[in-house]
Symmetry: C2
Subunit: 329 residues, 2 copies
């Protein structure tokens, strides 16, 4: 069976993206074959496109899809043919068919469309993992979420509000992103172009600081993040939008505040890790989509044939929320 | 009831240590009154002695004792009068009587003397906490223990060997400390005056690194520790013998290896934390002392009247293992 896929001519810019015909994949034991209805665009896709380490034949890009089960080679009866699922795949997402380990598939809540469902896995699983598995956020604690208008940021604000009744500090650089943060549940908003966020944290915590930081920024926020940490804070390093190189670090500061500084990336984690994360997320958070308490945030829906435009939006940082590629006719 | 205690004339050197008479303390609800038989010397004691922030009346020094229960104001029947106990106290340890929260008392294993028991709480609780609560050491993982001849180092090697069958990398600067490490269960020994430990870690792990580092050294080992971290390593910052200031740090390195860097100090932790730690240690590790699988490492036993000599040994770093003050007649 042939299908249309997006791959590359050779590693490079958007002009290298190539729509081709390939043989549809065959699911192995434990996997599902999915007819793809929508695919999420992720930063890792644009990085893979440019990765000069890759050798031909080049992979089909894309790590996040929603669609319908057309073949079930797992021993789970939850994934009958026709079941609507979404989840992370190991490449091969920008295609009419994709294979996915069954233990990484999320059954799509009734209230969500395929386009909405494709906007859930990467940002909500990353937000859940960083807030709870790494950040160990407990009920009624205080959390500082940077890049509050990003996909993971908007998901994290919703989870911290709905699952933990946290006090949420959010930073962003535009009034509309801050307004969205407020609507999603953030309590204290800082426009970083106007004010230093550590002052807002100090004044709203009587100087005691926050218990968890989701840090997408890195170097440029280092000293303010350190100043914002409470004793026993968990500071999760997810991104380096503000640079990676710290010019000095005092171990004594980390010791006296007993700070846990945790670096993380999700994509290279093991299949088992992703399966356990998917299972816990499905139990604890997924039902809240049907109740309307959690919602995917979508910036744009782009037809499958216009992938280069989707990559352009991501690379020019136009989006607040997810960019979704639609394969629905 | 009067008792002899060690306090200070004024903050300063060993010449300020002062043997005085004070009223014996009265245990509050939940506390034990202990007739002290032996007291451990700790770095925090010499630091308290020099702390110019302190105001008179100055405290009785000492945070670690063994002895016999003479009064039980807790509602636990485990601490009958005459019970042999050891544990951490909030100051007041260098004295003939001391009060201790009952939930922080360890019942002394039959096979240990009072002097041996006074050598257990601080180093073994710290080693247990850093290896298991912070380091999350799992069975058969690899652990790198610096300052292997120190009190906490010798305790950590024994725990990692007996509780986790870990592969243990130990560093120290003297052949006799390395030989003791080997006898206690370390697998790969590095004399840091002769070789770079990261080379030994790499060659014995096929370049994959260790899962846990207990880091008492800090700045001077920073790059070698980073190089020695496996993916998903837990790197516990306990001391800064080699300096506190790191000149540069790449957040990207912490992210790509998914390193958790955790600063810690035990003394200022909450009473509840210390009680939970004591309980778990008593269940999981304490029985191994009677089986001869764990043993306190003692460097010297000094009579109560000669405390300044005990502080001299600690401040001149003479000791391998604990310095114990004995009050037994």
């Amino acid at each position: 069976m042939n299908m249309n896929v997006w791959t590359i001519e050779t590693p490079g810019g958007r002009e290298q993206l190539s729509l081709e015909k390939r043989e549809a994949p065959t699911p192995k034991e434990g996997e599902l074959l999915i007819e793809v209805k929508a695919a999420g665009i992720n930063r890792t896709d644009t990085l893979t496109r440019q990765n000069t380490q890759l050798k031909a034949p080049y992979p089909v890009l894309g790590v996040e899809v929603s669609g319908v089960v057309v073949k079930n080679e797992s021993n789970s009866s939850a994934f009958k043919i026709g079941t609507r699922v979404a989840g992370l795949v190991n490449q091969g997402g920008y295609a009419e068919y994709a294979v996915m380990p069954a233990d990484r598939a999320i059954i799509i809540p009734e209230s969500l469309s395929y386009v909405e469902a494709a906007a859930v896995p990467e940002v909500f699983l990353t937000a859940y993992q960083t807030l709870y598995w790494l950040g160990e956020l407990k009920n009624n604690e205080k959390v500082l979420i940077h890049a509050a208008g990003s996909g993971v940021g908007t998901a994290a604000i919703q989870l911290a509000r709905q699952l933990s009744d946290a006090t949420i500090f959010a930073t962003a650089g535009h009034a509309d992103k801050l307004e969205m943060s407020r609507q999603l549940g953030a309590d204290v908003l800082t426009n970083y172009k106007e004010r230093a966020f550590d002052k807002d944290v100090a004044s709203h915590t009587e100087g005691t600081g926050v218990d968890v930081i989701l840090d997408f920024v890195g170097a440029s926020y280092w000293d303010m993040n350190l100043a914002s940490c409470a004793v026993d804070a968990r500071w999760v390093l997810i991104g380096t939008l503000g640079g990676s190189q710290i010019k000095s670090l005092s171990i004594g500061d980390l010791m006296m505040k007993r700070i846990a500084l945790k670096g993380t990336v999700l994509t290279p984690r093991s299949d088992d890790y992703k399966a356990r994360l998917t299972r816990e997320f499905s139990e604890k958070a997924l039902p809240l989509f049907n109740e309307g308490k959690l919602k995917p945030i979508i910036y744009s829906v782009i037809p499958f044939s216009e992938l280069p435009e989707a990559h352009r939006q991501m690379e020019e940082n136009e989006n607040t929320g997810k960019i979704i590629l639609s394969l629905e006719k």
